[in-house]
Structures are given as structure tokens and as C-alpha cells.
Symmetry: C2
Subunit: 225 residues, 2 copies
């Protein structure tokens, strides 16, 4: 099943994001593992390498050998997450020949909450998903977006949106807003998840109604009209 299969592939993150590949050492893996736990616990704004060092019984300066800043670490975690989602997207849609069913499956993959810890080595996917919901915007809402974008720090995310767009165009190649609806689905789903946890009055999503249902219906109605 998925769980075992995923344990054997390596998620790849743009190399420029890190100084030294955290997958290449024990300390690196502990940095990833515990940064996810700590950011989820105290939030990215309150997160520091010093606190992380204390948690893993290591030194602040050692962490700086892997990532030049906490911002770069966030870029690493988010790239990892989107690459993981991309893998699931490709894998779970590859055997669906019907374009519309494939698209619905794709929307499900990009909009669902992660409830099960896939136990993908040292990464807690449930908590990483929470981090994406709460912190992802902060990775690109900076004055440095354009230069970082040129460096390729957002390729994984953009590639995921492009894959979803292509599946939309496969259902209706005439639809004029395939890119916009694709980016709206991915970003919008994160937002709806946030709203159901903090601003319940402005969302219809709750324990029974999911962002997946909302975006599936929305997309089908949009592209089939």
C-alpha cells in the first residue's frame, strides 16, 4: 500500500535551498524531524534555531551549516511537502483513464487534510500539513520573492499547479482560466482549512463538509459551462 511504497522513494527538493543536504546525515534528519514538531507547536514566527538546537540536543551553529536561515528551512519544508503531494497526485491518478474522474481525484489529493501519518522516514506529514496551512504564505509573501523565484525555490509548487491545470484542460481544453482555477484550488483549500479551524462563520467547511467537495463541485461547474 501507499505507506510502504512511499517509504522507498526519496522526495527531491531544489538543491540551492540548503547548504548541506539534511538527508545526508543523522543530524540533518533530526533537524527536519524536530523543526516540523517545533514549528507546529510554537508557530514559525516564534521558532528559532536556538530553540530547535535545544530540542535536539545540538548547537545553533550546527543547524546553520544546513540552512542559512529559518526562512530557507521553511522553503525546504514547503518544497518537500509539495513534492510529496505531487508524487501522490501523479501516482493516484495514473491509472484513471477518464479525464473527469482523474481531475476529481487530483482535486481530492491537493485539497484533503492529511490525517494519517505516513511514517515517511522522519517526516510527520500530519503536522507538516498543518504547517503548510498556517505558514505557507509566509514563504513567498516577502520582498525577496522575485529573486528567490529566479533561484528556483518555488518550482515544485508551480509544477504541481501546472499538472492540475493540465488535467483541467484535459476535461475542457477551451476553458479560459485553467491556471487561475488551479492555483485557486490549491491556495483556496489551505485557506478553507484555516477558516474551519479559526473563522468558522465565513466557511461552510466543518467536520462533515470538506474543502474537497466544495472545490470539486466548483471546478466541474466552472469548466463544464
Amino acid at each position: 500500500m501507499m505507506k510502504n511504497l512511499l517509504s522507498n522513494i526519496k522526495i527531491s527538493v531544489p538543491e540551492k535551498i540548503f547548504l548541506k543536504d539534511p538527508e545526508s546525515s543523522d543530524l540533518g534528519k533530526r533537524i527536519i524531524e524536530h523543526s516540523i514538531l517545533l514549528i507546529d507547536e510554537i508557530g514559525f514566527d516564534n521558532f528559532t534555531f536556538k530553540k530547535l538546537g535545544a530540542k535536539i540536543g545540538s548547537n545553533e551553529s550546527s543547524i546553520y551549516r544546513y540552512f542559512e536561515s529559518k526562512h530557507k528551512l521553511l522553503l525546504y519544508l514547503t518544497s518537500w511537502y509539495w513534492a510529496w503531494i505531487e508524487y501522490q497526485l501523479v501516482f493516484s491518478t495514473s491509472n484513471i483513464p477518464n479525464p473527469e474522474k482523474r481531475l476529481l481525484k487530483a482535486i481530492e489529493v491537493v485539497t484533503q487534510t492529511i490525517k494519517e501519518d505516513f511514517d515517511f522516514s522522519h517526516v510527520n506529514e500530519v503536522k507538516l500539513n498543518q504547517i503548510i496551512i498556517n505558514e505557507y504564505s509566509k514563504s513567498y509573501l516577502t520582498k525577496e520573492v522575485d529573486s528567490e523565484n529566479k533561484e528556483g525555490y518555488f518550482v515544485v509548487y508551480k509544477r504541481l499547479i501546472a499538472r492540475l491545470r493540465d488535467m483541467i484542460l484535459n476535461v475542457n481544453s477551451e476553458y479560459k482560466y485553467a491556471s487561475s482555477i488551479s492555483s485557486t484550488i490549491v491556495e483556496g483549500a489551505l485557506h478553507q482549512h484555516f477558516l474551519k479551524d479559526h473563522f468558522k462563520s465565513i466557511t461552510d467547511c466543518n467536520e462533515t463538509v470538506t474543502p474537497t467537495q466544495f472545490f470539486q463541485e466548483l471546478t466541474i461547474n466552472a469548466i463544464k459551462s
Copy 2:
């Protein structure tokens, strides 16, 4: 016209956000005016009260008498912005009897870029709109959201979303996701504006295609199916 009319009303912001009403003094107005210019220029992350003090020839400690933190100042600016948009929403839709036309107008108001400086006293609306696009998420993506929400710091935004939702229900009272689509339109429009400026490849919006068109079509198709 709008420009003159707006100059005579006062936009009201939840009182708990500030320590002292910036509208009540000359220094207060200069804080608002120049914080907008400075945040737009260097970004919220690099913005400090010390830098603002230097810009307005005033003292850091004086600014702290108005806002207890730069986060509170951001909450003030965003609440002001949404209250201003809400005013425009109510005003520009009040004389449209047809529910669908009214909704389309409403979507236009909440999704358009502000191109003209309305010269609303000391507030530069064009730059404030850019700040909302680039920084709004940071105002609620914090560990303190729930307590700040209880304090009423986000009422204006939620009220705006609720107004839009009601206009949607007025077109089709059976539509199941009125709140979710309403919040998706407002948040999604900001996101599309951001994408067209920084990640062009994952949006269809550009100089000729607007987020307004995209969301108008999307909404009509969603609720009329």
C-alpha cells in the same frame, strides 16, 4: 462623485486595536500616512517603528503610544481597508435591484485593484491595496488568531464576507457553499493579484484578463448549476 463623497465619512476601526485613536491627532495621521508608504516600500517584515519615526521626524516611543506593536498597526490598516471596501460595496450595490447584477457588481468591488488614489484624507488607497495583497495573510496567520478574533480584531473582514455571502444567497438561496465561495473570492482575488505580479505562469490574469472576470464567471457558474 465617489471621491468627494468618501472624503466626508469616517471609516471606523475596532477600538481595541489601538491605544490611542490615530485619527484624533496630527501625529496619529502622519503615523498612518507614512506607515502605508513605508510598509509598501520595504515590506512589513522589514518595517520597524524606529524607521517610521525617522521618516516622520518623530520618536519611536511616541508611536508606541498609538499602537502597542507593529502587528496591531497592521491590524489597524487592514481593518481600515476592509471597512473602506465594505463602504464601497454597500454604496455601489444599493441601487441595483436585480440580484445577479448586484452580485456581479459586488464581486467587482472586492476583486478589483485600486488604481486611483481616492485621496481619502491621509490614506493612499493604491498603496494600501498593495499592502493588503502582500501582507494581509500575516495579520491572521499567527498563534494568537483565536484570542485576537475573540477581541474582535477581524470583525470588519468577516462582516464583508458575510455581506457578499448574503448577495450570493439572494441569487440562489439553495447554494450550499455560499460562505466558502464568498471567502474564496475575497482571498482568492488577492492571491491572483499577487500571482500576476510574481508567479505569472500559474495564473491567467494579466494586463487584460482580471481576477474580477475570473471570479464573476466562476461564481455565476457555481451558483446557477
